[in-house]
């Protein structure tokens, strides 16, 4: 049987590089398959997608060797316009690819490019929008859509021409859990009900893996592993070696020496029960929250209310929050919950309209250098010509006023940036850019650090590096608040989780308590970490991370926890 995609001895070297980005790849993808392609940053995943729809070599210069046939068409000898009817390519950030002002115009763009009649365009647009759950929004402004809706619009705009293959480059990396879930459900429907072949490149594989049929793992331009989803679950070693995050139920089974067949919590519980019949029960003190020392005032927020527009929506609704020094707090909630606005108040970027914010007892009235902030988009924080200049910038310009600059070379080492001192920061990978921004802030030793989605685009090893440094910082009396959508990271590392919904705080407690409260999670569009669900099913526990579950089961099976 011939595949819908066939690559033979495929290699490509970008004009500006010496090393091939993809190197001697042989690949066959069958029609109707759902493929997850993953691997560390820079391994060649996105390049492979661009080869499939002809952007490489027709629009992006370089040297391509080997052959690619897509739906029987030789992509090297067909135009991008021709291939676009077979392969739809969607990019990471919807804001970078949306071109029109209304939803209907955006979806109709590709159809106009194939010369379709106006009435047909209208019908096709309506049908496509119904597939992605945007029916009736034809005349909406693209600005009126949420992040998740914009990503589904971007998907609709490539689906409009009914490509046989849909290639998606990190489609959920910018989305909150709700938006990601909505998009993945659409992809599932397109694949299962319409037989569309789907190829997804994604780092958040713990979310995509349960949907796909086959997995490709790339490293240094090569496919180093490929197999079915079940095979990936049974043998996740290669994923862990590359710092890729696998679904927690699979990770737990792997930690217990069991082969998992699926990422479902109930299947993992069944498999663990088979392998470890005596899982015991939670013993008193096993899942106690970390002891808290007598609190010294860190951040104190009282009755904070805010609107951007006097007649507009209330963004913050009477926030009361007290965070002692040395605490590591995860601030969670869906997009639009008011998290960033709250952070901007704490660092003094926004003046309070009602209520007050105090840092170490002093009312914040304007920008305060005792508070440092890393924004979600690291690119906008990097403006020096070398990594060294970037990291020492705050020290040179007085942000470390009254405090000595941290050992920035040590920071580089700890952040995995050693040897990059002379590199141009904006030319680094996204993960590296985030780490440079964090190191630049840490070098100033602020008393409070605010971080907006610091773990986006980071693999497991680098998340550990970043969190390790931040924990060291809180150990020295600093306070950290980090916004995140990632419940697994928040559960594993935070001492406290604050959940916001529609401008108010709906939960504020240790993560174990917050993530046990299903109704709070539901209202904030969050999901409890799978490890917690496994522990609950397995032994009535409330574990925060994989290691806790593995440790409990192993100890219970040895007898020490046996109920």
């Amino acid at each position: 049987m011939t595949g819908i995609v066939e690559c033979s001895k495929l290699s490509f070297v970008y004009k500006t590089r010496q090393k091939p980005s993809i190197d001697n790849i042989n690949l066959q993808i069958d029609a109707g398959d759902f493929i997850l392609c993953t691997g560390p940053t820079g391994c060649g995943k996105s390049t492979l997608l661009k080869v499939l729809n002809g952007l490489i070599p027709h629009e992006i210069g370089g040297t391509l060797c080997g052959s690619v046939r897509v739906n029987g068409i030789d992509s090297l000898h067909s135009s991008v316009a021709e291939l676009s009817r077979t392969v739809g390519l969607m990019f990471q950030n919807p804001d970078d690819q949306i071109f029109s002002t209304t939803v209907a115009d955006e979806v109709g763009f590709a159809l106009e490019n194939v010369g379709m009649e106006r009435e047909m365009v209208r019908l096709r647009v309506a049908e496509t929008l119904s597939w992605v759950g945007l029916s009736g929004r034809e005349q909406s402004s693209v600005h009126a859509l949420s992040g998740g809706e914009r990503q589904r619009l971007a998907l609709a705009s490539v689906l409009a021409v009914r490509p046989r293959i849909l290639a998606l480059d990190e489609p959920i990396s910018q989305l909150d859990p709700r938006g990601a879930m909505e998009l993945l459900q659409v992809l599932r429907k397109l694949n299962r009900e319409m037989g569309m072949t789907i190829i997804v490149v994604e780092h958040r594989l713990h979310e995509v893996m349960p949907l796909c049929r086959r997995v490709l793992v790339m490293e240094d331009g090569n496919i180093v592993w490929q197999g079915t989803r079940q095979e990936a679950f049974r043998d996740p070693e290669v994923f862990l070696r590359l710092g890729l995050r696998i679904p927690q139920p699979v990770h737990i089974c792997h930690g217990l020496g069991l082969a998992a067949d699926s990422a479902a919590v109930e299947d993992a519980v069944r498999d663990i029960r088979r392998g470890y019949p005596h899982c015991g029960k939670v013993v008193p003190g096993e899942e106690a929250n970390l002891p808290t020392e007598p609190a010294t005032a860190g951040i104190d927020i009282r009755g904070l209310e805010f609107r951007y527009d006097p007649k507009g929506r209330q963004i913050l609704k009477g926030i009361d929050l007290s965070i002692p020094r040395g605490q590591f707090v995860a601030l969670m909630g869906n997009n639009g919950a008011g998290k960033s606005t709250l952070l901007h108040h704490i660092c003094g970027l926004i003046r309070t309209q009602s209520g007050e914010v105090r840092v170490h007892g002093q009312v914040i009235k304007g920008l305060d250098h005792r508070v440092g902030m890393v924004m979600q988009n690291p690119d906008l924080m990097l403006f020096n010509s070398t990594v060294e200049a970037e990291i020492t910038f705050g020290i040179r310009h007085g942000a470390a006023r009254g405090r000595s600059g941290a050992d920035w070379r040590g920071l580089l080492q700890q952040m995995g940036l050693h040897g990059m001192e002379d590199r141009f920061p904006l030319a680094l990978s996204q993960g590296q850019r985030v780490r440079v921004a964090i190191a630049a802030l840490l070098a100033c030793r602020p008393e409070v650090m605010l971080l907006d989605e610091p773990t986006t685009g980071q693999d497991l090893g680098h998340i550990d590096d970043i969190i390790g440094l931040l924990q060291e910082y809180t150990g020295g009396g600093g306070t950290v608040i980090f916004c995140t959508h990632d419940t697994e990271v928040a559960a594993r590392y935070a001492q406290r989780a604050v959940v916001m919904t529609a401008g108010g705080v709906v939960a504020d407690a240790p993560p174990r308590e917050v993530f046990s409260n299903e109704s709070v999670l539901l209202s904030a569009g969050l999901r409890a970490p799978a490890a917690m669900k496994v522990s609950r099913e397995l032994y009535g526990g409330c574990a925060l991370c994989v290691e806790e579950v593995v440790r409990h089961v192993q100890q219970a099976s040895m007898g020490s926890y046996a109920g």
Partner: protein, 295 residues
Amino acid sequence: MYNRQVWEATPADTPVHRLDVRTKLVLLAAMVVFAVGLEGQRPLFLFFLVALGFHGVARSSVERWKVLIIFLLVGIWGAMLSQALFYNQEPRTIIACLVSPVAPWIGELTGGVFVYREGLEHGAVQALRSGIMLACGLLICWTTDPRQLLQCFLQWKMPYEIAFMLITSLRFLPVVFQETAVVLTAQRLRGFEPIRSFSPVRWIRTAFYVLFPILARALRRAATLALSVESRGFGRRGSQTYMEQWPLVERGACMVVFAGISAGAALKILYSLQFNGIAYFPDLRNVYDFMAVWL
């Protein structure tokens, strides 16, 4: 600056929004020709009011009016001030002396700095011209889908690369404004306060600090947008781009406007011939009078 929607085209159901993109571009071109060709203050002012009137018809938001007024005021202030000080045509009437020619050192160096009445008037005319163009340009940016603009440019045989470059810059200009504000904020967060400094060196350094991240982001965005539209079948080799029929009424109106421009140009030529003593037609005396007063 943070509100990106102030800068981006937004759909609405107004007569201006409903106009075909080709009609808007022809009207813009006509306004530009008139603004450049007219010399009288009164007609220029009338055209300026017409340009502002279009914004009223398009129901531009309060934020957009604020942006427009700020740009116009800055333009008027800049043009009038520079012309008032540096006007070098004769006759010119001094209405104020800022630096006396006999003032030590600076007076000798500059020969005196004066405010000229004719300079102020000339500056006002220039400001009205640039104001008309600015108001019309912003109106098109705020009311027209970039996709339609691109299709229109290509239909009019503009080279693909230039058309796409134009549209990309239009599409990303609002983002650049927004991101500039974010970069300045990021710098303030890290202890750099360029805005509060009066040092030119610091200002230059700030410009570089702002340019680095903005340019890097803009390049990445533009590359992604280009790949995105190419992979949706749009490109220099594509010739099937579908564009709606140009409504007959609008096309007719554009023809009338074109005829008006041609008539205006002919009258200007006639007036110029008479003014320079090359050709005088006594029957056209009323036309000459009209030209002298209005055009």
